[in-house]
């Protein structure tokens, strides 16, 4: 099935919350949980993934919390997607030569490859900065 899973969706919300708070210090998991309506234990693991992939920097202890590792404009949806779900790969046939029994002779494979490239480009084109701008327009996700 071609479906973006909920973990990725939540990850985008986390990044968005941090982006809207950029320059104003750290945000804790607790604060994000309240803002973004994501179950705590689940959220913790998503945050750990984002941290492991170096999209965010985390600090333990009182006054700990999270912050983005780079400026808001430099993040895009593809990066967030891949931090959670791994490399974008819309068909097993594209993984490596020899996986598909039809392999090189398959007329369908180049089409999947093309579609995948298109999606990758499209996801890359959507930056976190744009999402912040949209969110500001809508007026949701207000932190104060």
């Amino acid at each position: 099935m071609i479906r973006i899973n909920r973990r990725t969706d939540y990850a985008v919300r986390v990044m968005l919350a941090l982006a809207r708070h950029a320059g104003e210090g750290r945000l804790s998991t607790q604060q994000i949980q309240d803002q973004m309506l994501v179950p705590r234990a689940f959220l913790q693991r998503i945050i750990a993934d984002l941290s492991r992939q170096k999209l965010i920097k985390t600090y333990t202890g009182p006054n700990g919390g999270l912050e983005l590792t780079r400026s808001v404009e430099t993040f895009n949806l593809r990066e967030i997607y891949e931090a959670i779900e791994g490399p974008l790969l819309i068909s097993d046939c594209l993984e490596a030569a020899g996986v598909c029994p039809l392999d090189k002779g398959c007329p369908v494979r180049p089409r999947w490859a093309c579609l995948q490239a298109l999606m990758a480009r499209e996801l890359e084109a959507i930056t976190l900065a744009e999402l912040v701008a949209d969110a500001d327009k809508i007026g949701q996700f207000q932190t104060r």
Copy 2:
């Protein structure tokens, strides 16, 4: 995960086999199985789906078999995808209003909607006729 599943991939192969045989009578499940390297019992169910969605017409009995219901140019990848996996829906948030707790206020949802529309357009743009042309070029899937 954003991944086209194997059933859809097989369905495309079935349609391709039928397309290449168009105008030359029916093709049996057995023949397609041999050509396309798909396990029999699995293939039968995929064919039943294609039949149920009226992409192919089937006939029982000796000299039975399958054929396309329309001309080759009128089929596209989206149609085949949806016959097997149901309507294209890349995020649960797009399914219906109210599914997402953030709902209307979500800045991410319009982006998913846009991405989904793009994919739909792209899948529609690839016709079975084009795949046949590609297959002819490559020289694979020869039936004689």
